[in-house]
Symmetry: C2
Subunit: 151 residues, 2 copies
DNA sequence: ATCTAAATAGGAATAATTCTTGATAAGGAC
DNA sequence: GTCCTTATCAAGAATTATTCCTATTTAGAT
């Protein structure tokens, strides 16, 4: 899965469309995120990217992540007070945070369902975005006795 | 609304039930949060509490908030990377963050609706908790041209 | 080849929160 | 009431993720 070679063209266009440049650093950060379906932190992206662009700085990784997020090519995921994570999945979805193994799982929206139908809005609220996160124990960790997964 | 004198008894019992003491600081922090239906940050709680307990320190406010949250007497609300907010509403609800006036509004769960029915869980996930936040423009701010509310 | 604005590396700065520590106070045993 | 044990507190230092700053480099246009 994950075909960065295909996405690259579109990402370039999107970046260019904003009057920005697709630099080596930005492409490397983008490829790292699209290359896995996990939700790495900025530091994790940093360490992965350094194999391709060894001179990149953490500040640049933050800048690139910011740019990519601003262009809608990547999503930022916040969970409690933890460090931000970055997500390659652009479909509408929620997240499950496993308290045992710390893995983050995408939860796709069920068809025909709408988050705004579940809660009551006392007035005319203009919803620009929403973020939904569940936490608990993931299937892998529920099965096994204690913490036994990688990471 | 808001009858802290009534809650106090129960809060005391809850605190005692955990082998903890209801100190002046803890009661003051608790009363401050229950006294309004907004969602103050730790620093806002700090400044409000100082009128009752002028010698309290910010670290103690953080400790008290932590204790109260741990006892289930108060909820912690996280939104993106912003500072944590604290909520007196113990009912299940989501939050709306107005990007214009920064107000936080409680969104009660509609009866018969369940958050976990909206998203698809690929496996046996044990849900311990969930947090849902919408953001956009609140009714007050949608009506008026630009930012014109207090705060 | 030259020019200009955007982008980067590296390090300093910021801000929210947590940690550390010595002093204080509450509650129970006697 | 006095003594003892332990929880709690205040104050400030430390931590950590993220942002800011600035001199230097680079991409892209002319
Ligand atoms: Mn995701
Ligand atoms: Mn609330
Ligand atoms: Zn797990
Ligand atoms: Zn508003």
């Amino acid at each position: 899965m994950a075909t960065p070679s295909n996405h690259t063209q579109t990402a370039d266009e999107t970046i260019h469309g904003r009057g920005l440049r697709m630099t080596d650093q930005r492409r490397a950060v983008y490829d790292v995120i699209m290359g896995e379906r996990d939700h790495p932190t900025a530091v994790e992206v940093f360490t992965r990217v350094r194999s391709k662009v060894p001179t990149i700085s953490l500040a640049t990784v933050y800048n690139c992540l910011d740019t990519l997020t601003g262009c809608g090519l990547v999503k930022t995921v916040a969970h409690e007070r933890e460090s931000a994570r970055y997500c390659p999945n652009l479909e509408e979805h929620a997240h499950f945070f496993c308290e045992a193994c710390k893995a983050v799982t995408d939860l796709p929206l069920r068809s025909r369902k709408k988050p705004e139908d579940v809660w009551e809005f006392p007035g005319e609220f203009a919803i620009a975005s929403h973020e939904v996160s569940f936490s608990g124990t993931c299937p892998k960790c529920s099965a096994k006795p204690a913490k036994s997964n990688k990471r």
